[in-house]
């Protein structure tokens, strides 16, 4: 397949495994084992069963009638917001905890920004009776208090990352440091299509259930598996990778990724990596990265904590590079307006991350009979505080 990762973990010029030697055995074990394990029939059966019975899959592909009327196109929403725990993140954590079990690991660590991946990890650890430590930036802990308590309620230990900017990238650094110090009994569940190979490919595969379902559902709803456009938001890019995965080789399907432009791409307060980034290495892979001329990683900004990451997954950097995926960006304001709009038109309050994908609707030229699928990656309950502060509804 044209867009698959190569044997060294590269997508074109991006990817690889830039890890300290101390982590080499862990990454090598994963690299050697992950496909063997996840392609086993017994693994697939258990994964599928948990996705069905526990997560609530398949999630609906919902025809958004009033939204369609407004934008004069046929708009479907892939309802990942209806997954258990409220976002697509759990697809990956279910997959990885089964993998961790197959590798005989006893402990789980994870990083989290807004707390969604942390909650999804704490959830599957409770389900499997495994010890769970989640690293979260001290700043994020303060602004995402409810998710911190959700993780604790689920039995996880939440450790504040106090280094650097005390946000997602620093939580990731701390999780890596923990893994360096505890290399044998611990599995690190990375939450996005980032990190050293094989993580980006592994996470994309676990999330690919999203596009597998879209194909089947759209076939039965519209008599065709291929929509004209698929739109998804991108922070690290796991929901987009999942929504695009089974369409990458169908070149006539236009794939659109929406990054967070914060207060605007020229404002110095943005997280739009393909606009502001250059190739660089962070968290184990070569990708597009927001950085200074001197190669120091720049702290991004977005109203949405889930998109507040200075890089993107190497698969997305490659898809951007070769032009397979078109990248748009939406500002805080555009996203908030789109979030309120969906709430009013469809009775669905989206996560602010997903609202960035919705915001692309007003930026694209749409044709009346076009079929558009928007990946509604999460629900907005966790963002109520931000909506209240925003106030314009």
């Amino acid at each position: 397949m044209k867009y698959d990762v190569d044997s060294n973990g590269y997508y074109g010029q991006f990817g690889g495994a830039f890890i300290p030697e101390m982590l080499y055995p862990n990454i090598e074990e994963l690299r050697e084992q992950y496909l063997k394990i996840i392609e086993k029939e017994s693994f697939k059966a258990e994964f599928d069963d948990l996705l069905k019975q526990y997560v609530g899959r398949p999630t609906p592909l919902y025809f958004a009638k009033r939204l369609s009327e407004k934008y004069k196109a046929k708009i479907y929403l892939k309802r990942e917001d209806l997954c258990h725990t409220g976002a697509h993140k759990v697809n990956n954590t279910i997959g990885q905890i089964l993998l961790a079990k197959a590798l005989n690991k006893q402990k789980i660590i994870a990083e989290t920004g807004a707390g969604q991946h942390g909650v999804a990890t704490a959830t599957v650890c409770a389900l499997m009776g495994m010890e769970c430590i989640v690293y979260m930036g001290e700043v994020d802990m303060a602004r995402q208090r409810p998710n911190v308590e959700r993780m604790r309620l689920l039995g996880a230990e939440v450790v504040p990352a106090k280094s650097g900017s005390r946000t997602l990238k620093d939580a990731t650094n701390e999780a890596m440091r923990h893994w360096i110090s505890n290399p044998t009994d611990t599995h690190y569940i990375i939450g996005s299509v980032v990190g050293p190979h094989p993580y980006p490919d592994m996470v994309a595969r676990f999330q690919s259930v999203i596009s597998a379902e879209i194909r089947t559902q759209l076939s039965s709803l519209e008599g065709r598996a291929l929509p004209d456009k698929i739109i998804a938001c991108v922070g690290g890019g796991s929901n987009a990778a999942g929504a695009f995965y089974h369409y990458l080789n169908d070149e006539r399907v236009e794939l659109i990724a929406v990054e967070a432009a914060g207060k605007g791409n020229e404002s110095g307060k943005s997280a739009a990596t393909t606009v502001l980034g250059k190739p660089g290495v962070l968290h184990g892979s070569k990708t597009l990265l927001m950085q200074t001329e001197d190669g120091q990683v720049v702290e991004p900004y977005s109203i949405s904590a889930g998109l507040d990451y200075p890089g993107i997954g190497p698969i997305h950097a490659h898809l951007f590079d070769v032009g397979r995926v078109k990248f748009e960006s939406a500002t805080d304001q555009e996203a908030m307006e789109a979030g309120v709009e969906l709430s009013r038109l469809e009775g669905i309050i989206p996560a602010i991350e997903s609202a960035h994908a919705l915001a692309a609707l007003s930026k694209l030229e749409l044709k009346a009979d076009e079929i558009i699928v928007i990946n509604l990656s999460g629900r907005g309950d966790k963002d109520l505080e931000t909506y209240i502060k925003w106030g314009k509804y």
């Binding site: 060294n8 690889g16 495994a17 830039f18 890890i19 300290p20 030697e21 101390m22 080499y24 055995p25 280094s163 650097g164 990238k169 620093d170 650094n173 890596m176 440091r177 360096i180 110090s181 505890n182 290399p183 044998t184 250059k278 190739p279 660089g280 290495v281 962070l282 968290h283 184990g284 990265l289 950085q291 001329e293 001197d294 190669g295 120091q296 990683v297």
Partner: protein, 269 residues
């Protein structure tokens, strides 16, 4: 023979002349103050350190513990950059003859430009590099030939988890020394090494590698220094040194006392 020795890389020369008790000290460029980089090197040399590793500060140093992380952040806040570091090291070889290694993460090197970076290293008289997040395979495919072209030795790390086969492979592509990480963990000071640590040190010694080894991560005092030098050619000290200079008001005195305390004897002028 004499000519060969003259052109020999300073790291190789050191290990040729000395097979035990080598002290290599790590510190972060531009820390505690932005202009301290060169003077700390000079003080370390006069205090009797055998080699220095100058850290290129990075915003996200994943292999480092809290002490070195903080020194990196402070150095960046002070305005340190790789470009400035090469400026500061311009006169290095007028006063310093011990081997100098740059240690840092790969991203600043990529942004500087690999070739420009290596050229600048050679011009100021840097002898080797330690880049913890540059993996072996990546090095061999994309970096090795450029490093060699500019006479730079790349130093690889091994840890207690590194398999015997991989250690042998790393040994086969090294031509200076191997950095033996003392235990599973990031950089940071320890009071003493456990029996388990010592068993690992002995295991590596018994492998009789072609390259000498230096033990690093956790060396903080005379006890750990002595333990490390029993089974390898010497020790690398970082966090403990950073702690010493963090609030120093007399760098020369503190650096000398540190080396003396650690080795038990050096530090005369």
């Amino acid at each position: 023979m004499q000519l060969e020795a003259y052109y020999m890389n300073r790291i190789n020369k050191l290990f040729n002349e000395k097979s035990s008790g080598i002290l290599s000290v790590y510190y972060t460029a531009g820390f505690p103050n932005i202009d301290d980089t060169l003077s700390i090197t000079q003080h370390l040399q006069s205090a009797g350190a055998d080699m220095v590793e100058i850290g290129i500060p990075f915003s996200d140093p994943v292999a480092d513990g809290p002490t070195i992380q903080e020194s990196n952040q402070k150095a960046l806040d002070n305005g340190m950059t790789l470009k400035l570091l090469f400026e500061q090291l311009k006169g290095l070889r007028e006063s310093v003859d011990i081997p100098v290694i740059l240690m840092g993460y790969i991203n600043p090197v990529i942004q500087f430009g690999l070739k420009d970076f290596c050229k600048a290293c050679q011009e100021v008289g840097v002898d080797g590099l330690i880049l913890p997040d540059l993996p072996v395979l990546e090095y061999q495919e994309h970096y090795q030939s450029t490093f060699q072209q500019y006479g730079l030795k790349n130093v690889f790390l091994i840890s207690p988890q590194t398999s015997e086969d991989r250690i042998k492979h790393i040994d086969s592509i090294s031509d200076s020394f191997i950095y033996m990480v003392s235990s599973a963990g990031t950089t940071g000071a320890k009071d003493k090494f456990s029996k388990e640590n010592m068993t690992y040190f002995q295991r590596i010694k018994d492998m009789e590698l072609n390259n000498p080894t230096l033990t690093g991560f956790g060396i903080s005092n005379h006890t750990t220094f002595e333990q490390a030098t029993q089974t390898s050619s010497g020790a690398i000290v970082g966090s403990a040194f950073i702690k010493t200079i963090t609030n120093s008001t007399d760098l020369k005195k503190d650096v000398h006392e540190f080396v003396k305390r650690l080795t038990g004897l050096r530090g005369t002028n």
